[in-house]
Symmetry: D2
Subunit: 379 residues, 4 copies
């Protein structure tokens, strides 16, 4: 193995869960070392956090611009190679853009940008700068999600005819019914969270999961969103009918007021030769359905799985690996790309996933606003 | 207990599964005896079937009209009281209508009629004739489905905000992809099966399940159906967005090409105080969700259940009762109604369920044909 | 189909659940009609119960001996052919014996007798009288239990090397910890319930399930029972190590103080070619394990199942059939035997199952009392 | 947070899965940095592995004795504080002993020693040297396992009356039936793997899980082991009856020829107030049973959980954490102990767990060899 890849981190300090997830993921496969960071815009918290997690403080920078400026002064072999952007949503775009323009590879949290037009700009910046760019649609890192993709590619389901993805959470329920609470939650503030809450935050994962596993692109959607209260400006629930360029159809269902649901992302895919069912809360079980044979339960780590799936499993069957491992698999793919090694296109989501995701969110809101009409997804 | 109720049966002979289901259901709670029938339009098969299942042959009639004519000649105390209509779909309406007009109570298989306008006629005939009428939405007879209804009525979920019902089967998959097969299947022939295949046959169960459990009426739908092939005239898959008169929204998903699915009817209901999840293939498990407490798993037969649920359980907890018991519960409710005993309105589906179901089917097809627009459900 | 078989019933009146179970089972496949009975030793309750469930009262007898006496006076073609014995345990033996001696076929509730020596007597009476005799180990009637038996017979698991059966209930927990309650419960009274409570009532089902599915005979056991309190005379929990004549070993675990368990009968069987897992509370799911292939989930009604399994399924896949159907399958097998038709030996448990079951119970108690030593099962 | 703890690692190089597990666990909570190691006895592999995983090579030592010698020369503040022993089983004892004698804290893989007498020596060495010592019974690190322990401590189950633990794997099945394979597998060679294969390797986990969760000590066992073939010298399957000092009883079931099982560790615990069921392959679901209330499903991360459980969860509910996280929780507990911070005794298994585990293994084999008699567990 080559030397460890030099990783920079923007954001993710303090109690940030996303920070924990990325740091652990970067460690798991022995590919990265964190060499520089801006964990927090407040200097004292920034430097203290670095000490707390045991990062050397010489390359903890006062802010993002300084990080870029100072790193560029370093000889190329010492410089940060990949930078993870874990800041609030509206900063993803300008930071990712500037990083790419200055020759850094980028791992960007989701949503990649706050608008589709920003996403298109990022896409063209990336094309001009020969860099690796990953959007962390973490769930694509699960071994059994990868197994679905590979089996579909190999024709196990035949021609896809029906797709149904769900992402249900209930966390907004204790917030939404009290006027003051819903007025003061940043996720429900369009100025802070963009055009959409539910579809922007989680519906887009369901969208991406469909495109990732089926290898098909969603052509058009018709969406109906729910805001529950008139003074609430952001969708907190909704359903989108979907169409492909084939005769397949489907549905994306998403909610943050599905009371009592934790993080219930599921997908069901049916083709003329077979079907799949998978649930994120039991990620190690993939149900393979057929017309005339018993249901088969695929589990990670077995030799019957595809290479892409096995590559994402570290331990023998029966040892549950979880969400950290899913994210780690994405970091592993990025490492291979950064090093110029061969990798499977399923190893990490790219800028195109980000672009299409932003289109999905914008078109969903627009379809709803226009009275639930069909609109094309663009990229 | 009063004397057994005299039951007549139209259809359901030979290999008919629906015939088995109704006969067993009529027996289970010791309320009915089959005294007369037309099991089959072919006389020899009719009479032989009666012998085969051990029914006395003196009141096996040559056809439906003869049954009515001859039964009316009998003294009232000997005459058929309730008649189960298990014939092909297009005969449900004329037979049910004539039975009601002649003073019989009716248990009618689903779909109640083939059009909404027939359904409205039946409704008015029923209003003129003081009779008991049940449509066999069998799944409403499951103890845990009844438990949902009662708990929602008691406010356990608070105000409903999201409803999601699914009915996925895969049985058409081996048929639909071959031109000759799809041309020769009666379910796909509009002349034989009416306006809709998937929504008419199973989507309407999901519709009824929502109205039964929530006690709310669906106000309007927007549907997108899938026919997969241009020469196929009947929907075999589809999704309907639904709206209530409240701010709640939801979705009905239905498919007969969800390859490998058997009879996967599920419902999820979310209110501001809690949520429910239930699956027909594991009917004895009701999952009760909340914001801040562990998920609770309700099972039949326990004292913590509602009266309506317990009334539908014959054995102690842990002894799985199945679909025969669900149908039997509906027969039990009808028996109480026929005898003029008190009963819970949840014990059997009425003509109004049939009327609304027909409206759902017709509006779904119309919504699709008009380019996926919202249409009101009528009753 | 031949004429219905004439069925007599002893016991099972009033609130008896076992009475419900047998009556429904006898009806389900259209093979039996109840023509005579002694439902209750109190005449008024006896006759009223017959009226309540709609049985003609001319052959409701004052007691068991009268039933035999009067039925023998009837011409053979009118006489009860099969008699179901649903009385308290200590009456099973004398009644079954007398029925057999007088030329009746018998369906006997479990335990067949209260001692092994009675069981042996019954066995020899049966050998002298050419009759059909079934002990209602109901769980062997489940389609997926039958499927295990047939697949093992066909070699699907190879040579069996490990068997683990569990029967856990918790219903005694609210009784056992209060001195007065445990003193007054008939199940805990050796004079009323025989030598064993937990092993006699449910452990023996686990024993039978092992012998039924594997087709192997348990050779010897070593048992450790638990009575929890010194003044409690009956086992309420226990474990038996088991050995076969091969190198296979296993364990039978049984409890009535497994707090919160309902009726949790499970079996796991492992051979050198594969394994099975099955649970009574989800009886329609059979998990088939292998070294190197995905777990397969077998479900009833599919063409991939064995004849014996399919024979026990009335409806298409996905329509849950339950415990009534399991018992009905046993009644169906008895009907075939009574009519002299061909049947699979797995269709109903015989006197030999009863004999071995009684030996299991007695040897379990003896093994425990002797300080947990190995004892041979006899038959 | 204080500075990172200096961690040394012995073994775990190359493809070692246990090495991966420990390294990731040491990283996850930001408490450790690996400063020294002997990854492999072959120098070239040792140093290359260090490079491969990005560890500085200046304190990669040629062998274990050199590591101790050289580290002791370093000033205390630079020296390895904790050393993880991941070597073959027979080396655990001498290495752990020498480390303790030289003032290092130790995290020791399981089995702690190869005999009970070694375990007792290690215990006394530890008492003489004031050090932290953990045996990695990894499964005790799962949040829901910790939740069981805390709830039992708080009386949620009342007085324990029945315990049933299972650890079934099938990995030996493809090995055991071929004479050459079983002769050449080190796990089946008593000289390499000690006195027991199945009970030594996995049965002891079930034993520890019982003592960890219930807080009770197993008093005596009676074991029956299975070797399947006469030329096989090591148990590959077995069952142990267990007794406590109370009137509770139970069973430990363990197998490596449960064909098709992956890593199926389960525990069921029943007290007079309630019961628990938990499975390692679905570690985020804890089923809480009661006499009269619905089953409750506890999941990690919710505020209703105990402190000890919540301390082991990093992400919100619904984000599956897996086996790496379980091990990481143990490392976290050790870190607290090393730093002299307060910690819950459930945070890591101690030498006493190791001592009792060794006694369990030895007594199990002895019980079997003496003809399945009861023997006391010692510590």
């Amino acid at each position: 193995m080559a030397k460890k890849i030099k990783l920079g981190i923007i954001g993710g300090g303090g109690d940030s869960l996303i920070g924990v997830l990325h740091r652990i993921a970067s460690f798991i496969n022995d590919n990265y070392e964190i060499v520089g960071a801006v964990f927090n815009p407040v200097w004292e918290e920034n430097i203290n956090f670095a000490k707390q997690i045991g990062i050397k403080t010489d390359r903890i920078y006062v802010d993002f611009d300084t990080l870029i400026e100072e790193e560029l002064k370093l000889p190329k072999e010492d410089r940060i190679q990949v930078c993870s952007v874990l800041t609030p949503n509206f900063l993803h775009f300008p930071m990712a853009k500037k990083l790419l323009e200055n020759g850094f590879h980028v791992i960007c949290e989701k949503p990649m940008t706050t608008t589709f037009s920003e996403a298109k700009i990022l896409q063209s910046v990336l094309e001009e700068n020969n860099a690796v760019f990953a959007v962390t649609h973490t769930y694509t890192g699960y071994p059994m999600v990868r197994q679905m993709r590979e089996m579909i590619k190999d024709g196990a389901l035949g021609k896809i005819q029906k797709v149904d993805a769900q992402y249900y959470q209930g966390w907004l329920n204790p917030v939404i019914h009290e006027k003051e609470k819903r007025a003061s939650t940043w996720r429900l503030n369009p100025e802070k969270a963009g055009i959409s809450c539910c579809f922007g935050d989680i519906g887009v994962h369901a969208f991406n999961m469909i495109e990732f596993t089926t290898g098909m692109q969603i052509d058009a959607i018709l969406a109906d969103l729910n805001y529950l209260y008139e003074d609430n400006k952001m969708d907190i629930d909704g359903t989108a009918l979907i169409r492909f360029n084939t005769n397949a159809k489907g549905v994306i269902r998403s909610s943050q007021v599905a009371t009592g649901e934790e993080n219930n992302l599921t997908i069901a895919i049916y083709g003329d030769k077979g079907g799949f069912r998978w649930e994120q809360e039991n990620p190690n079980f993939l149900y393979v359905l057929s017309d005339d044979k018993p249901v088969q339960v695929y589990k990670p780590g077995h030799a019957y799985n595809s290479e892409l799936s096995l590559d994402g499993t570290k331990l023998p069957p029966g040892h549950p690996e979880g969400i950290f491992d899913a994210m780690a698999n994405i970091y592993l793919g990025v490492a291979r790309a950064v090093r110029g090694e061969a990798y499977n296109s399923g190893e990490f989501p790219t800028v195109m996933d980000g672009v299409r995701g932003m289109s999905f969110i914008e078109k969903a809101v627009e379809s709803h606003q226009k009275g639930n009409v069909w609109l094309k997804i663009e990229d």
